[in-house]
Subunit: 336 residues, 2 copies
Amino acid sequence: MNSDRILLEHGGGGLLSNELISRLFLPMFRNPYLECLEDGAVFTLGQTRCCLSTDSYVVKPLFFPGGDIGSLAVHGTVNDLAMCGARPLFLSTGFIIEEGFPINDLEKITRSMAEAAKRAGVQVVTGDTKVVNQGAADGLYINTSGIGIIDYAGPISVKTILPGDVVIINGPIGNHGAAILSRREELGLSSEILSDSAPLNDLVAKILAATPRIHCMRDATRGGLGAILAEIAIQSGLEITVDEDLIPVRDDVRGICEILGFDPLFLANEGKAAIFCPADDAGKVLAAMHDHEQGRDAVIIGSVTRKSRGRLILNTTIGGTREVDLPTGELVPRIC
Amino acid sequence: MNSDRILLEHGGGGLLSNELISRLFLPMFRNPYLECLEDGAVFTLGQTRCCLSTDSYVVKPLFFPGGDIGSLAVHGTVNDLAMCGARPLFLSTGFIIEEGFPINDLEKITRSMAEAAKRAGVQVVTGDTKVVNQGAADGLYINTSGIGIIDYAGPISVKTILPGDVVIINGPIGNHGAAILSRREELGLSSEILSDSAPLNDLVAKILAATPRIHCMRDATRGGLGAILAEIAIQSGLEITVDEDLIPVRDDVRGICEILGFDPLFLANEGKAAIFCPADDAGKVLAAMHDHEQGRDAVIIGSVTRKSRGRLILNTTIGGTREVDLPTGELVPRIC
């Protein structure tokens, strides 16, 4: 490691996160499930293909425009399962609560989790609560783990992506990051930007029903669309080219980015995913997505151009091209 | 709730934990899996009966005699699955790390997790890492969730316990709590007490192979043996009577308890479980346990005497009897 201490960037979903995974966790836990490096682990129980996924949520503030840590904790794990092609069924939840935390807030957050679970069609079936002394946590952290069943025949993995595949995004990017930023910075905007935090499992079911040739799906959370596309390029050893002009960004999100000097490409999302499939299937996939609330604004933003050492190329709005590197960490810490 | 703020006792596995579960979590998430109130949730995936369990670990200090947070996080979840009669297979792990945490320590803890997983025959197949800023965590918290398969035909549940069942414990109690206390208090003892932190899944497999009539198993973690027996009495609506004289406690653990004014009955364990089965099966079960490293000192400590409003009766060493109430919380916060 380049540092002997953990830095915020080690949790940012970028270069330092990857270093921690590849140099510490993978060698220690070495097994074929973990080595897939997808959003969840796929294995067989009895005759049934299953997926297990986990995420801890440390978002700050706990309540933000468009959601809170409770709904986020449900959507995040539901979406990770969906990205592996699984139908999410059961969630566990682990609360780590700081002594003195208002029970009213815990109640609001729990209600929000329950509503999000109902909407996503999953059940919270087991849980755990730990309380740490004042000053040993920042209010509340939540872990959710989830299990789902995979019915889809085709393998969904970064390894199945092929040159010629198109890259589809299901809507405008950066809303979650911008919502958190606007609340933290108290920018006093005239209209509030809402997080896009939402369950994607129903949309994914429609996408999978549209074609047996979905190659890969990944939700663009920490590090944003830029980080996950750069990561997929590296993992697949392919060159991915996207057109900046084609990437949907809402005007108000773009405005916040201009004020604060951020690039929406690296702002977090909690309801956006990149979908890879052959160009021939794109029409069917887009049609299925446009019929769905979470995919109304779905659009092709680029394609997989060729084998390479693994890089992401951006055709920029001003007419140039640039290679987009995996960011070191996330622009905004504690975004999820 | 009696308080409008979260207290340490809400995470202690006692009365206030139960209040939080029964008044907040159960009504919000209401479903039959959660309502079983066992150590994990049991459901069917395809044709396969499975169990999902989760726990977060916030133990302080992170390294203690006989283990560390890493091995504890594996053993705890493996044991919760085993208590439900499941064969633990796959674990997820979620790290919440404080910025500035030494990477060397993270490496030691990860190695300890990997070794514990190998010993227990489970694989860590997926994970997540979050980093929070300095002062927003106390070094490191770990969540593990786990999934296992249930092959055992009989239902294992507090609801199947019957009058006439014996209560077996697999060895001396209080070692984990005493080990943590001795490290925290720097008592300067001549010999170190080691935590009993250990995987119980292999022992449980032997127990389940010995008879089809195991009724209930529960590991005596937070709140100790006293808390889990009082809880089982309440949940089952039965009277459980145990003899203080029969409960094994090591001399050095008893010594620490005398110095600090604690009752070993309420000290945490991380490798001890209470087993309920009909008296007729006790011989076979004890024989199977005595053959196993984790059950060498297994002994009957009492029995289920009759239907009642649910209470735990202790026949004390000095010849009296007293009713043991569910403790408010745990004697020692952050024990696991």
